[in-house]
């Protein structure tokens, strides 16, 4: 069998799609960007749907992975063996209501001048030695602890993580994140106390929660708001961090007074003094 060979020039480029590369890249980048924007927007909406459905064990895992970062950001050493931690725990224990009974509440006393208190997910409550020094009564401390427990009960810390929550859940599922108590850069960017802001609504809810607990504890709300009244009006030169991360304006004090009036709660009553030496390690101020 013989066939004649007829040379034929290649005139059609069947192996190369005749789309201009820039047009192709434009469509490709467009698709990817639009998808990412859509996913980003969906995640923002999904946070509020996902947070109430997270199990306690997941919340505790998230809290544990954030704990080293939170302690770093607070600054100062953790005073784990200080007897004041036992005192704070004994203050907080009767404040734990049914909705938080399955969450282990841990108090972390941070050795820093700045008066502050905050929580992260998983039942971690931070109190600074500065806050103890600034406090004038147990009533104030109970309200502040109650307010923080309110944030825990409403899972505000999880909500404030925003889209990072999904990053955290993903890293927990993959087993990356914290190793040997070392925090990863990923988690460092996830949690930022400096720019932590709860919404006005979240603060109002936490305030009311704190007020309810205070009333349950003492039968009245006397002296409970004194910490804020001192700092909101009379000492403009010194603004404690706590007021910054939990801005408690005159409005909020008024709102709480109104809330108490609506429920026929008295805002006057006996002051419960703080234990002697609350400003010193182990309540021991020594003899100077």
């Amino acid at each position: 069998m013989n066939m004649k060979y007829t040379p034929k020039e290649i005139t059609e480029e069947v192996n190369v799609t005749p789309t201009h590369p820039l047009v192709n890249l434009g469509y490709l980048a467009g698709t990817v960007v639009v998808s990412l924007v859509a996913i980003y927007a969906a995640m923002g909406v999904a946070v509020d749907l996902v947070v109430p459905r997270l199990s306690r064990s997941t919340e505790i895992k998230i809290g544990d992975s954030l704990l080293p970062v939170a302690q770093d950001q607070f600054g100062g050493n953790v005073l784990a063996d200080d007897t004041r931690v036992d005192y704070l725990e004994s203050l907080a224990q009767p404040l734990i209501r049914e909705e938080l009974s399955d969450l282990p509440i841990t108090i972390h006393l941070m050795d820093t001048e700045i008066a502050n208190a905050a929580i992260i997910a998983g039942g971690h409550v931070f109190v600074t030695t500065g806050l103890l020094e600034e406090s004038r009564s147990e009533n104030e401390l109970v309200f502040i602890l109650g307010h923080e427990l309110g944030h825990l009960a409403n899972r505000d810390s999880l909500k404030s993580l925003g889209r990072s929550l999904f990053l955290l859940l993903g890293s927990l599922a993959l087993g990356i994140g914290t190793q040997n108590g070392q925090s990863s850069p990923l988690l460092n960017t996830t949690l930022d106390f400096q720019s932590l802001h709860y919404s006005r609504e979240q603060e109002t809810q936490a305030d009311r929660y704190g007020m309810i607990l205070t009333i349950e504890q003492y039968g009245h709300g006397g002296y409970a708001l004194d910490f804020f009244e001192r700092h909101s009006a009379h000492e403009p030169s010194f603004i404690p961090e706590y007021v910054l991360t939990h801005p408690l304006s005159e409005n909020r004090i008024e709102a709480l007074e109104l809330f108490a009036a609506e429920n026929n709660w008295s805002l006057t009553g006996d002051l419960v003094p703080l234990p002697e030496g609350i400003e010193c390690p182990n309540f021991d101020c020594g003899n100077e």
Binding site: Y5, E9, I10, N15, V16, P21, N24, L25
Partner: protein, 145 residues
Amino acid sequence: MGDLIVVLILLAIGYGFGSYAERQHYKSIREREKATLHVPIMTFGAKQSLPPAKETALFVGSVVVASDYFKTFALALRNLVGGRVLSYESLLDRGRREALLRMKEEAIAWGATELANVRINTSSLSQGGQGMISIEVIAYGTGIR
């Protein structure tokens, strides 16, 4: 923001030089394909007997073509969504045709009247499976005269 500017500059360099090189290469490929058109290349000859010949010899043509930043960037985006990688089609097309041409030109210089049992292989030279990719295309066949 600084990173974005760097990426845009790299994209511009990649696109500018890459598409210029590609146009020049295609121009050369078309001219040389025309010039070597008279010698047929065939895939048969492995299990069939070769056409009558006085002499046969093996000819190998191989070429390495590098991707550019623009093509790699487009590939990275494409990897997210899947589908045809248009920017690499021309890269592989150029590689195949260049390898065939090199094999053919060497065979013609030797005096081949046709090439039988022609095969093409491709492999990629990449840095640990990541980043910029170069491809190697090798074409080989039996020259007959």
